[in-house]
Amino acid sequence: MKYKFEHLNKTHTVEIKKSDGGYQVTIDKKDYDIVNYSGHDNIVSFKLNKELNNIYYAQAGDTIYLAVGGDYYSLVLERGNVFKGTGAQVQKGDSVQSLMPGLLVKIMVAVGDDVKEGTTLAIVEAMKMQNELRAPRDGIVKRINYKEGDQVEALKPLVELEILKND
């Protein structure tokens, strides 16, 4: 079997096959011998380079979450069109939205304002932490869909921009 896993924007290619007494795993072209494998509902154990590993895991959709000796990994199995957002905001065409639902603490711009890339447009607070939403590119504020004090939803356009063609 061959898999591609994404971890923090890096893709790793993993090939796994049965071998005498275990598995051979090839990661990014390097070979590893796996012996003494045993798998349970949420934990797998195996020896790699003579070291015993007990690794907890859980899965949701294409993401597999792993705890490896106090270190944590979220690997996303790549199969075509996978959601990759990890930053505090995502861009959808010409709008800016919060990745988290939260309280709209402050709107820093008004409709018609000319904004430069990086200008703070609004501040959203979630889990007692404030996040600044910044303009992804230069543009003009076309529409603002919430008012200060509103609870904003995740991934819903908050400030819509008319992006200036830069050609």
Binding site: Y3, V25, G39, A58, Y65, G70, D71, M127
Partner: protein
């Protein structure tokens, strides 16, 4: 003693309080916002009441509704926990007016210690050293500017009603002063509903050491020794320990006495904490009084054997302390790590979501005060604290080793947490030697960044899971759904044991 207490909080602290109540044969009324209808603290309550929409202002900060529900359900007292209304003097006053006992200080003491400027003046009168700074807040920028000039930069902007680092800004030069004050005011308004800020001389690289004090309404006052809280990120404590590796017994006794005189001077009753900064010359300065049970209270409970929440309730009911200062000693060494739903790989962005798998550590010298469960959706509306992991051991060295192992065995999958980050902290040389101050996190950034040097093991595990486990899962799921096969006795299921396959 009370028969019924309303717990005006959520999460691990609501559960902590409910436990103390039940042990004293007091029944508990839990409250929740609509988003918390499935939260674990409700499982620990004898009665539960929905108090409004998710936004804190609409529920956990809604004084009117909470007082109303306490009355309706016949609660004789309210325990506020920490955060939310815990240090809100208006709430304390509202309880007093409604004839409901507030488990904490009187509104008068709360107003005094809650106002950082007023409390500085009180403390000065009993000869406890304070940090040079403003005696009053101001609306005039010039006043701030002249104070900053007088004590010398760097200075620090603080929320007058604050706590927990909210509203704080360090100002290193005059040109930063105005924007820092504005930012501090905005955060203070949002966090405490009061924009008042004041200025203090900024102590460079201090340690943050606080003393737990407990005072009954009969005039008995006892301190339960110190907590070292210098491991902070963005002014937020994340690891605390006791005893402090910095104090000797002479200084410890001196600071303990100072803490008690502050509490007495404020005529403060119930449990309270006196915070100090200690500079590199081991000179200490009064910082503020925290008028609540604190997040980090368990480490004190573990080394002194005193149950702080239980005594809060006893004192609120008019009881007299059954011990004196000479009866209290420190035994062993305790450390607390705060487990937060935040992502160290993405600048500690909050990480709410569904907990897919949960395994909490247990065993000798391990205490977990947890507010979560497997399958729970951590909502994004509140503080990201999930639980607290506390270790107690004979020595500091073993307590650190125990914490490191316990963190490794604290498995939360599905959301991001700071567990790995905490483990890297307790594993650093600087932490182990105890030579750290409040700048520890910034100074050791390199060592604390996730290295992800076990990516190979993770990828091997993931590919093994994908190859060998997902089929098995499907079968298991069917069995779990209770739809399928005829019940077998466990005996019938025996026989397919692996033979020495590990």
């Amino acid at each position: 003693m009370f028969k019924k207490i309303l717990i005006a909080n959520r999460g691990e602290i609501a559960i902590r309080i409910a436990r103390a109540c039940h042990e004293m044969d007091i029944s508990t009324i839990g409250v929740y916002s609509t988003v918390d209808a499935n939260s674990r603290h409700l499982w620990h309550m004898d009665e539960t009441v929905c108090i409004g929409e998710p936004a804190p202002q609409a529920s956990y900060l809604n004084i009117k509704t909470i007082i109303e529900q306490a009355r309706r359900t016949g609660a004789q007292a309210i325990h506020p926990g920490y955060g939310f209304l815990a240090e809100n003097a208006l709430f304390v006053k509202a309880c007093e007016d409604a004839g409901i006992v507030f488990i904490g200080p009187s509104s008068k003491a709360m107003i005094l210690v809650g106002d950082k400027v007023a409390s500085r003046n009180t403390v000065k009168r009993v000869d406890v050293p304070i940090i040079p700074g403003m005696e009053a807040s101001s609306t005039d920028l010039a006043a701030y500017r002249s104070m900053a000039d007088q004590v010398g930069y760097p200075v620090i902007v603080k929320a007058s009603m604050g706590g927990g680092g909210k509203g704080m800004r360090i100002v290193r030069s005059e040109k930063e002063l105005e924007p820092s004050i504005a930012a501090g005011q905005r955060e203070a308004q949002s966090a405490f509903g009061d924009a008042t800020v004041y200025l203090e001389k900024y102590i460079q690289n201090p340690r943050h050491i606080e003393f737990q004090v407990i005072r009954d309404t009969h005039g008995n006052v006892v301190h339960l020794y110190e907590r070292e809280c210098s491991i902070q990120r963005r002014h937020q404590k994340i690891i605390e320990e006791t005893p402090s590796p910095a104090l000797d017994n002479v200084l410890r006794a001196k600071m303990g006495d100072a803490a008690k005189s502050v509490i007495k001077a404020a005529d403060y009753t119930n449990a309270g904490t006196v915070e100090f900064l200690v500079d590199h010359n081991m000179k200490f300065y009064f910082l503020e009084v925290n008028a609540r049970v604190q997040v980090e209270h368990p480490i004190t409970e573990m080394v002194t054997g005193v149950d702080i929440v239980r005594h809060q309730i006893l004192i609120a009911a008019g009881g007299e302390l059954e011990f004196r200062q000479k009866d209290i000693s420190q035994r062993g060494h305790a450390i607390e790590s705060r487990i937060y739903a935040e992502d160290p790989d993405s600048n500690f962005m909050p990480s709410p979501g569904k907990i897919l798998f949960l395994l909490e550590p247990s065993g000798p010298g391990i205490r977990v005060d947890s507010g979560i469960y497997q399958g729970w959706d951590v909502p994004p509306h509140y503080d990201p604290i999930l639980s607290k992991l506390v270790t107690l051991a004979e020595t500091r060295e073993i307590s650190i080793a125990r914490m490191s192992k316990a963190l490794e065995n604290y498995i939360i999958l599905g959301i991001k947490t700071n567990i790995g980050f905490l483990k890297r902290i307790v594993d650093t040389e600087k932490f182990i030697t105890g030579e750290y101050d409040t700048h520890f996190i910034d100074d050791n950034e390199e060592a604390l960044i996730p290295q992800h040097d076990k990516i190979t093991q993770a990828l091997v595990a993931a590919s093994l899971v994908k190859t060998t486990r997902n089929a098995v899962f499907a079968v298991q799921s069917v069995a779990k759904s209770g739809q399928v096969r005829h019940a077998m006795t466990p005996w019938q299921e025996l026989g397919h044991w692996e033979i020495c396959s590990r």
